[in-house]
C-alpha cells in the first residue's frame, strides 16, 4: 500500500475566510511566533547568567525601538494564544460549541487580546 498517494483534505486557501477559520489559523501563527519568543527568553536568561555586561547588551537591544516592537507583538501573541487556548479548553469540555457562542467567544478573544495588550503597555509607560 502506497501511503504517499492517499488523498489530503483541502487546505485553507480553498475556503472563504470566516472569523472562526481565521482565528484558528491565528492560533497556530501566534503559537509559532511564541516559539520564536522562547528563543529570545532563553537568550535573555543566558545573558543574565553570563553577567552584567552581557545582560545589559540584551537589555539595550530589547529596549530599542525594534526590540520594543518585537516585545509588543510577542505580548499580543501571548494574550491571544492564552485567551483562544482557553476558548479551546472550554470546547474540549463541550461548552460554547453552538454557532452563536463560538462567534461571540471569537470576538471576545480577538478584542480582549488587543485591549489587554494595549492597556498593559499604557499602564507601564
Amino acid at each position: 500500500m502506497d501511503t504517499q498517494q492517499r488523498p489530503l483534505s483541502p487546505h485553507l486557501q480553498i475556503y472563504r475566510p470566516q472569523l472562526t477559520s481565521v482565528m484558528s489559523i491565528m492560533h497556530r501563527i501566534t503559537g509559532v511566533l511564541l516559539s520564536m519568543g522562547l528563543l529570545l527568553l532563553v537568550y535573555c536568561l543566558y545573558a543574565l547568567a553570563e553577567g552584567a555586561t552581557s545582560y545589559q547588551q540584551a537589555q539595550q537591544f530589547l529596549m530599542s525601538r525594534p526590540g520594543l516592537l518585537v516585545l509588543f507583538l510577542l505580548n499580543w501573541a501571548l494574550f491571544y494564544h492564552l485567551a483562544n487556548g482557553l476558548r479551546h479548553l472550554f470546547w474540549d469540555l463541550g461548552l460554547g460549541l453552538t454557532l452563536l457562542s463560538s462567534y461571540l467567544s471569537g470576538y471576545l478573544v480577538a478584542i480582549s487580546s488587543f485591549a489587554a495588550t494595549i492597556w498593559l503597555w499604557l499602564t507601564v509607560n
Binding site: 489530503l8 497556530r28 522562547l38 532563553v42 536568561l45 543574565l48 505580548n75
Partner: protein
Amino acid sequence: MAPGKAHRSWLIQRITAVLLIPLALWFVWSIVSMLPLNYQSTHNWLAQPVNSVLFGSFLLILFHHTWLGLKEVTEDYVHNTVLKSFSLFLLITILLALLALSLHSLFSLRL
C-alpha cells in the same frame, strides 16, 4: 501515529496548556512589576528559591507545550515522510539543547 499515542499527546497538550495559564500570567506580572529590569533586581529576583522553582517549572512545561505544538504543525504541513522525520528530529534536538542551556543558566545564578 498509533491512536493511543495521539490521544496521549492531545491530553498532555491540554494539561500543559492549563498549567501554563497561571504560570504565563505570573511571568508577565513579574516582568512588568520589575521594569525596567535592571541587572541586579532581575538577578536577585530569579535567584530567590520561590521564583527559581516557579520559573524552572514554567520553562519545562513551556518547552513541552512548544514541542507538542510545533510537532503538530510540522506533521500537518510536511508531507514527505523522510523530510518529516528529519524536521522532527531537528526540532527536538534544538528544543532539548535550548532547554539544557536555559536550565544551566538558571542553576548557575547565585544570590
